[in-house]
């Protein structure tokens, strides 16, 4: 490891060390010294984020691959470490979020230092640090053992973060489901590594890369990895833990979980299938595409029914993971059919969306946290009118909403557009079924986009627009500058990544070079202004023009319409002549999604109750009316409840051996011992 080439890896070590220091510092954040958490811990987290960005950015831009061996652990199993463009890309993603939350966190965690929501502070800092170390470590791990150690570190410390506010039973339940599924996932990933290690003759990733798998075993390894990493990413139908776990964690942790942790699943899928297994097959792509499409459509439909802002955002993570998987699936189909360039395009679309989702979902969770911080409300139907009280938060949250709804000129649009472009190349395939299936998937992606827009009109419109629905919301104040700064950074990046897609795609070339030995030479062939992923005559998009045109319209509007016009007069809104509009007459989030609930009935299990109390009298008159609606997740009712019931039934059956008699238990031990001795001999 020479001095200059090794620097990125040293920076990555520095990042891990800073995170560790951040955890150590927050140990001192006892009730009397909360400053250790607010300043010390987040300061180190900031350095760690900056070092991650530096390490990842350097590796990515200079197209380096650095290997190292560390002498920790068991004597015959040294830890293998490697940083390459793929891990560099994810380190940049993680680092950006870390910088944002380290700006945001100091003010946000004040809530836990005192007041009604007071909690012990050291656990928050320590487990945040361990959680981040887990992610940083698994990105630079180069053998299966180290990878699994860090993976488990991430999963376990995630549990403690979800259960941080453990007073609420719902949080404990969410954390238990999270832990359960995280372990099922880890087990399946371990099986996948087992297959690879058996063929490669070692636990190092280098040995696995060199292994030649038969198609069947390769498919088994891929299937296990896809299921295991898919649980972590929250793909349908393995998603049930996600909408419970993400909302109950503190908001900056929710941002980290939705922004970064579930992306580690994507990292795992890409690393295993493209890098370690190598030969990508188109059949895998079909599975990934179908699951991705299902995740995106169902994710957004479930999100539409939520009225808890953070839960709504969590369901959107499932939707976006679906979109990423669609890109990956298309990429696998094209690569497996021998279309290397189109496969590259799909991979770029998927990775671009991964980065984009990290940014705008981080932004939205931080925005939801800001609302929570000032109003203590998570229910949309209690909010309203916050744009007047929290203008900066509202503006930044709006940017997040536009970006996630895939509207030009923001970043979400670019990656969805790239996914569409990949899908439209389906005629290049010879298989007629695939040629039909891919455009249908694209149409469902369009449905997802339109529904996501509807959902964010609802989320932003009900929370920030209109009139305040409760007194506490009416008195909300703007959040401190640090929190605005954290959100502002992410919002700015959302715009930049939307306006300069050619630069981003050029920077991502080393990843695709590494994984599929190809890049997109034509993407930036027409200069930075024009994004032409395939060729200029096939498709092109110029985001700077879009921004320029909107700015020009505003400028002209100001010059010719606003300037010199009589100032606007304020008047009452139109009330149909009845007078006295109250805030209760506004549409609520439940009302807003009612048409969609009716059109797509059957996607949810809807329990709708209307209780009316009528006056007995000559003319019946309704005196009070109570309306309640609950939507349930079918996958929970169809998959998990039966499995849970079967486990319980099995436990009951085996229960007969639990007699409570010590002699019986001794007998069991004796028989077991005999059995082992017999096996050994």
């Amino acid at each position: 490891m020479s001095a200059t080439d090794g620097t990125p890896l040293l920076l990555a070590y520095a990042a891990v060390a800073c995170t560790l220091l951040s955890g150590v510092v927050s140990l001192f954040a006892l009730r009397r010294y909360p400053g250790f958490l607010h300043f010390g811990s987040f300061l180190f987290l900031f350095f760690s984020g900056a070092a991650s960005i530096a390490a990842g950015g350097w590796t990515l831009l200079a197209n380096l691959t650095v290997n190292d061996r560390l002498g920790f652990g068991l004597p015959w199993l040294a830890w293998h470490v490697r940083i390459d463009p793929l891990s560099g890309f994810f380190l940049v993603l993680l680092g950006t979020l870390l910088v944002a939350i380290s700006l945001y966190g100091p003010s946000y965690t004040r809530e836990f230092a005192r007041g009604p929501a007071a909690q012990p502070l050291p656990p928050l800092g320590v487990f945040t640090a361990l959680f981040v170390i887990g992610m940083q470590g698994l990105l630079i791990a180069d053998d299966a053992l180290l990878f699994m150690i860090f993976w488990e570190l991430m999963s376990l410390s995630g549990y403690f973060l979800v259960v941080y506010q453990h007073q609420h039973a719902a949080n404990r339940h969410a954390a238990f489901i999270y832990l359960l599924l995280a372990h099922v996932g880890a087990l399946v990933i371990l099986l996948s590594f087992g297959v690879l290690a058996a063929f490669g003759g070692g636990l190092t990733f280098d040995a696995m890369r060199a292994a030649r798998l038969t198609p069947l075993w390769a498919t088994i390894a891929f299937g296990c990895a896809f299921a295991g990493f898919g649980i972590k990413s929250g793909m349908v139908p393995l998603h049930v833990w996600l909408p419970d776990a993400h909302p109950v964690a503190p908001s900056h942790i929710s941002a980290l979980m939705s922004g970064a942790m579930i992306k580690m699943g994507i990292y795992g899928i890409v690393r295993l299938s493209y890098d370690l297994i190598g030969d990508v097959r188109w059949e895998w792509g079909v599975v990934v595409l179908i699951i991705g499409t299902a995740s995106s459509v169902l994710g957004v439909l479930y999100a539409l029914m939520q009225h808890d802002l953070k839960r709504l955002l969590a369901y959107h993570s499932i939707e976006n993971i679906g979109i990423i998987l669609m890109g990956l699936g298309l990429s696998m189909i094209f690569l497996g059919s021998g279309h290397r360039m189109l496969g590259t395009l799909g991979l770029v679309a998927a990775l671009y969306h991964t980065l984009n989702h990290a940014l705008f979902k981080g932004l939205l969770f931080l925005g939801a946290g800001s609302v929570l911080y000032r109003t203590h409300a998570r229910d949309l139907d209690q909010m309203g009118g916050l744009i007047h009280r929290m203008p900066v938060t509202a503006f930044l949250f709006l940017i997040g909403c536009v970006a996630i709804s895939a509207l030009p000129p923001f970043n979400g649009f670019v990656s969805e557009w790239l996914t569409f472009q990949t899908a439209l190349q389906a005629p290049a395939l010879t298989n007629g079924l695939l040629r039909t299936m891919i455009p249908i998937a694209a149409a469902l992606l369009a449905l997802t986009g339109a529904l996501a827009a509807a959902c964010f009109v609802k989320a932003f419109g009900i929370a920030f627009l209109g009139k305040p629905r409760t007194r506490r919301v009416a008195r909300a104040r703007e959040v401190p500058a640090g929190m605005q700064g954290g959100m502002g950074l992410l919002a700015l990046l959302c715009l930049l990544l939307g306006v300069l897609p050619t630069t981003v795609i050029e920077a991502m070339a080393p990843i695709t070079q590494l994984l599929v030995h190809a890049a997109l030479p034509s993407a930036a062939a027409q200069g930075w202004l024009w994004l032409t992923p395939i060729s200029p005559t096939v498709a092109s998009y110029s985001a700077p023009f879009v921004v320029a045109a909107i700015v020009v319209v505003f400028g002209l509007g100001y010059l010719f319409l606003k300037r010199g016009a009589v100032p606007a007069r304020r008047a009452y809104a139109w009330d149909c002549g009845f007078g006295h509009l109250t805030q209760r007459m506004q549409y609520t989030s439940t009302a807003f999604s009612q048409p969609i609930r009716r059109v797509f009935a059957g996607v949810w299990k809807v329990d709708e109750h209307i209780d009316t109390l009528a006056d007995a009298g000559p003319v019946p008159r309704v005196t009070s009316l109570h309306y309640s609606v609950h939507t349930h997740d079918w996958s929970w009712l169809w998959c998990y409840v039966p499995i849970g019931r079967m486990v319980l039934a099995a436990a009951n059956r085996i229960g007969f051996i639990q007699t409570g008699n010590i002699h019986t238990y001794l007998k069991f031990s004796f028989v077991t011992l005999l059995a082992f001795l017999w096996i050994v001999s």
Partner: protein, 319 residues
């Protein structure tokens, strides 16, 4: 370089012509509709008069209106201006078509709709919420159908660039493609739904039971309303021009000569006038649907576009 400059100047001129002509199409539509329904008709210039009146009027804002409410008309108009700039009206091979392809065009419509719906929720009246909620439902169903129809065309022409696609269809000559027939029907139905026409919406009423688009913009007045009305006239014209470009592009200028451009203007004007007459007949014959019949209408449109896609894959590519 010089020819590049000419092309860009021509593209800018075409965009300006587009937005200038949009109220004229609306006026023509109104006039034919009045004649068809035995009413006294205003002149075709009436929409211009309305716009100039609104632009000069003093603004009236609801008390609860935020900055977003005031910004929305400009965003909506900007999005429509961009959309108008990329659609070939009188000539193909203009450089502005490279700014955005068909998918981005749908994105511009979505952007305008997103902000209009937000403006509907901003005041905090039930009208706005109702309009926003219904509009987003309709668009969620219309967008996949539209994209599916557009995909069929772009797969045939193997491009999503509007200008190149139009040029391809022009060069291919009169070929009867069953997929195009289905796509045309699907696109026409989506166009009706998206530009708030009967039977999905009725732009002429302010009754709460019929309105979608009008409910969202109920609180707007003055120059804001002018911009929004103008934008929706442009939107209607974009849909009409898209149908013309994709299915009947003959007559559109392929060179930048004066004669070719003049022919292009005449051809597109004639085709749009004819299309408007068809729309009027459609609107006069049909009645407004109940809101929850609209999903069936749009579902049918989606089925048609799916059929277009399938016929394209099965019959026309020989796979």
């Amino acid at each position: 370089m010089d020819s590049q400059l000419t092309a860009w100047a021509l593209a800018a001129a075409q965009a300006l012509l587009f937005i200038a002509a949009a109220p004229l199409l609306a006026g023509w539509l109104q006039r034919v509709k009045c004649h068809m329904q035995n009413r006294a008709a205003p002149t075709v210039w009436q929409p211009y008069r309305n716009l100039s009146k609104l632009l000069r009027k003093r603004m009236l804002l609801a008390q609860n209106a935020s900055w977003l409410f005031r910004a929305v008309p400009y965003i909506v108009f900007g999005a429509m201006l961009l959309a108008a700039a990329v659609v070939p009206l009188i000539a193909v091979r203009l450089p502005s078509a490279a700014i955005a392809d068909m998918i981005v065009l749908v994105g511009f419509f979505a952007l305008a709709r997103f902000f209009t719906a937000l403006a509907g929720l901003d005041i905090g009246t039930a009208f706005g919420g109702m309009g926003a909620s219904r509009e987003m439902m309709v668009s969620a169903l219309a967008e996949p159908a539209m994209l599916m129809a557009v995909f069929t065309l772009s797969m045939t022409a193997s491009t999503t660039n509007l200008s190149v696609a139009t040029g391809y269809i022009l060069e291919a000559g009169l070929v009867l493609r069953p997929s195009f027939l289905f796509a045309l029907l699907a696109l026409a139905m989506v166009a009706v739904a998206e530009s708030s026409r009967v039977p999905v919406d009725n732009p002429a009423t302010h009754l709460e039971l019929t309105m979608l688009h009008e409910a969202m913009i109920l609180e707007y007045g003055g120059r804001h309303l002018a911009l929004i009305e103008w934008a929706s006239q442009i939107k209607l014209m974009i849909y009409a021009v898209l149908i013309v470009d994709f299915f009947f592009p003959w007559g559109i200028a392929t060179g930048f000569g004066a004669k070719a451009l003049a022919v292009g203007v005449m051809a597109v004007a004639a085709k749009l006038m004819l299309l408007a007459v068809l729309l009027v007949v459609w609107e006069t014959v049909l009645a407004k649907m109940r809101l929850f019949r609209v999903p069936q209408f749009l579902g049918f449109s989606f089925m048609l576009s799916l059929l277009a896609m399938l016929t394209h894959v099965v019959l026309e590519t020989g796979g």
